[in-house]
């Protein structure tokens, strides 16, 4: 397409713009959660996260110093000072101000206002004010409404709360380690078991091989929903009950068809010469497997490892059926987040942070090993 003169420029621009729009659309929700996890509860509920990048206009109600500080000069009573000093807050540049709650943005800094009969008021941008009154002022200081722009502000407190506070309802620390405990064995063991089976299916001749491969392709799509009750019953009967052993076994079983399928497809493509030469030189099948096939299959092993890792890390159903018992000691992060959605549905600072803690590890793995993931997807599907 690119080689036709005249059609290129307009269409290319349209392509660039539509890709940019699509990417923005796809990234926008995730960025929203990430940004929200760095904001305080007040900030989240007072403005949309997309506004947090920019300085926000905020209206504060301040007061001048008390009337006992008024001094008489040139026939009027004067109170001078800085509005921010009175309240003891950090100064923000004032854009507009007012003395009545009905019109909080009546004046710009430097203007003179008349809050009452015989009274004048001037406020500068940095909060310095001069208040004068013809009569001796009494009561509290004059109310002043100032509108200031607040710079974007982010905090790590939410992560502190979710990870280190030890608060039992919010804490993700335990769930994080539980998820890790589920994930690592459930990733490593299926690879090992599947690799041997895949080798047998790829390079050994025996009756029924084609049938077995067909059976594995069939099992690839069997919904794991079917396995819940029969296996929970089985686990209870043989004494495993609900616990890590059960969930490791379950993940091993559910990941097995894809593992064998991926690894076999890869191993079949390895050069026949190498394997036959090794056989002629007297290598046993076990040696061929460990010394030649395994090292050569590293890309396929890595592909499946990533799949299985993402799947076990992100899993909810298998964990709530086979792992989490009534005590909840073995809760995993996905379960914890669902609980938080129920108990803290409105507390976005906790929810967003907890969700991001659970998303962070898969995202790192994803971006670090994307190449293998893509390769695995292609090997697993385009066949």
């Amino acid at each position: 397409m690119d080689n036709i003169a005249g059609t290129k420029s307009s269409l290319t621009w349209a392509v660039h713009i539509s890709v940019a729009l699509l990417v923005l659309l796809w990234v926008f929700p995730t960025v929203g959660l990430l940004v929200s996890s760095f904001r305080t509860a007040d900030q989240i509920s007072s403005s949309g996260w997309w506004k947090s990048m920019f300085p926000a206009e905020q209206t504060l109600q301040l007061r001048t110093a008390g009337t006992d500080e008024a001094v008489q000069a040139d026939g009027v009573w004067v109170i001078e000072g800085n509005l921010y000093d009175v309240e003891g807050i950090d100064p923000l540049p004032i854009s507009t101000w007012g003395v009545s709650s009905r019109d909080v943005a009546a004046f710009v800094p430097g203007d003179e206002a008349a809050p009452g009969d015989g009274e004048t008021m001037v406020v500068q941008e940095n909060g310095d004010y001069v208040y004068t009154s013809a009569e001796e002022p009494s009561g509290r200081g004059q109310r002043v409404f100032v509108t200031a722009s607040v710079p974007p502000e982010f905090t790590l407190d939410n992560y502190e709360q979710v990870l280190f506070s030890g608060n039992t309802t919010d804490s993700m620390a335990k769930a994080f380690f539980n998820t890790l405990t589920v994930t690592i064995p459930a990733t490593i063991i299926p690879i090992l078991v599947a690799a041997f089976a895949a080798y047998a299916l790829a390079w050994m001749d025996f009756p029924g091989r084609a049938l077995l491969i067909a059976a594995i392709v069939a099992l690839l799509v069997v919904p794991l929903q079917l396995a819940l009750i029969p296996l929970l019953k089985l686990h209870t009967d043989i004494g495993i009950g609900k616990g890590y052993v059960g969930v490791w076994l379950a993940h091993t079983g559910f990941g097995m068809p894809l593992a064998i399928y991926l690894l076999r497809n890869y191993m079949v493509g390895l050069p026949r010469d190498i394997i036959e030469n090794a056989k002629v030189d007297g290598a046993t099948d076990f040696q061929i497997f460990t010394k030649i096939i395994l090292p050569l299959s590293f890309p396929a092993l890595a592909s499946f490892a990533i799949f299985q890792f993402l799947w076990t890390w992100n899993d909810l159903l298998v964990a709530i059926v086979f792992l989490i018992d009534a005590t909840g000691d073995t809760t995993v992060m996905t379960r914890q987040i669902v609980e938080l959605l129920g108990t803290r549905g409105g507390n976005w600072e906790i929810l967003a942070t907890a969700a991001f803690v659970s998303i962070a590890v898969p995202l790192v793995v994803f971006f670090a090993m994307q190449r293998y993931l893509v390769r695995g997807l292609l090997a697993g599907s385009v066949k």
């Binding site: 929700p29 090992l192 078991v193 077995l212 929903q225 064998i260 959605l341 929810l351």
Partner: protein
Amino acid sequence: MNPALQGLLTIVFGVGGCVAYFYFSNIFLDKVLFPARGENAGRNINRANMVRPWLFLFPALFVLGLYLAYPVVETMRLSLTERVPGGSVWVGLDNYTQMASEPKFWEAMSNNLLWLVVVPAASTAFGLLVAQLTDRIGWGAFAKSLIFMPMAISFVGAAVIFKLVYDTRPAGAEQIGILNAVWLTFDGGVWSVIVLKIVPALLILAFGAAVAYLGYIAVRPMWQSRPGPRMGAAAMILRVILAIVALWLVWTSVSGLISLLSATPPYGVPQTWLTIPFYNNFFLMIVLVWIQTGFAMVILSAALRGIPEETVEAAIVDGANPFQIFFQIKVPQIMSTIVVVWTTITIVVLKVFDIVFAMTNGQWETQVLANYMYDKLFRANDWGVGSAAAMVIMLMVTPILVWNVYNARKEMR
């Protein structure tokens, strides 16, 4: 014992055990059972080589059988029995009739059908669009990687992300969900009519027309007497089913179109998106489309790269415009890949559980089969009906299963 330590031990024992099993069983086979020496050396070597594949396969086959094959049979048995204290009794099809009498089941079925149509179609279409658009631009790889990213995010994480998108604050307060913030900018003017009425109406019309055409193609051969092999009964039934599904979808689109055009949207009022019946299904589907588009894109992008350059060049020489090249040269050549992507996403949709569980838990008419099944199994504690629901999911997967096996066998020959 500390679970982390237990995990570590399991890795060591599990991995060590597996390696030891494979290593020692091979040694046992070669040295003890059929030693390759003495008068029977040759025969023994052959025998050992006959047994060895099964040694390699045994652990995998054992796990597969126990965790995938056995449950299919056992679930079928459970769906025909009722649990009573101390055992179970045979009740025939009672569980299925009970399930069929529950409105919640039919709600789950019709929602699932809607998911089955919309999610694979939308994901594949978006995936194809992105794959084609990013094919020739410099930062295509970067763009693809960002659109692919949701694949790494759990369904639960995605549910939280989209709950924030759909969040609702009372009228007058600042909206913190982007959807409501955008919604409140519509005020019933020309712009609102274009975006909220005309564009969706056109989309629904296009969808209905496409489905009607597909249904027509499906039934056309039944009254056209064409020379050639007669159609088998199975093919006939399949075509009729396809036509019925198409009719139902056309009906849904027409009624959707009418309600869309006749309704006056509540402009200026913040909406609780997940509680609006029927439409909330689509807000849940968006989550899955968001996740699955990356998958479709990766695979279709590879397929597009695999198209022979000559075909495209020939089309350019013949004066085809970019749209003709895409729809008439490229898409037909990657049709088989599109079908694979479509079926893969279909399977994901049939099993979709986490999104509904975390976002609405089937309330407000968003029930789907997998969540219905979970409800029955673990909340109502009714194993019979729960197993029956699982069998329905299995039944819906079966055509894809058969098709996959058929293709795999064809390819191996």
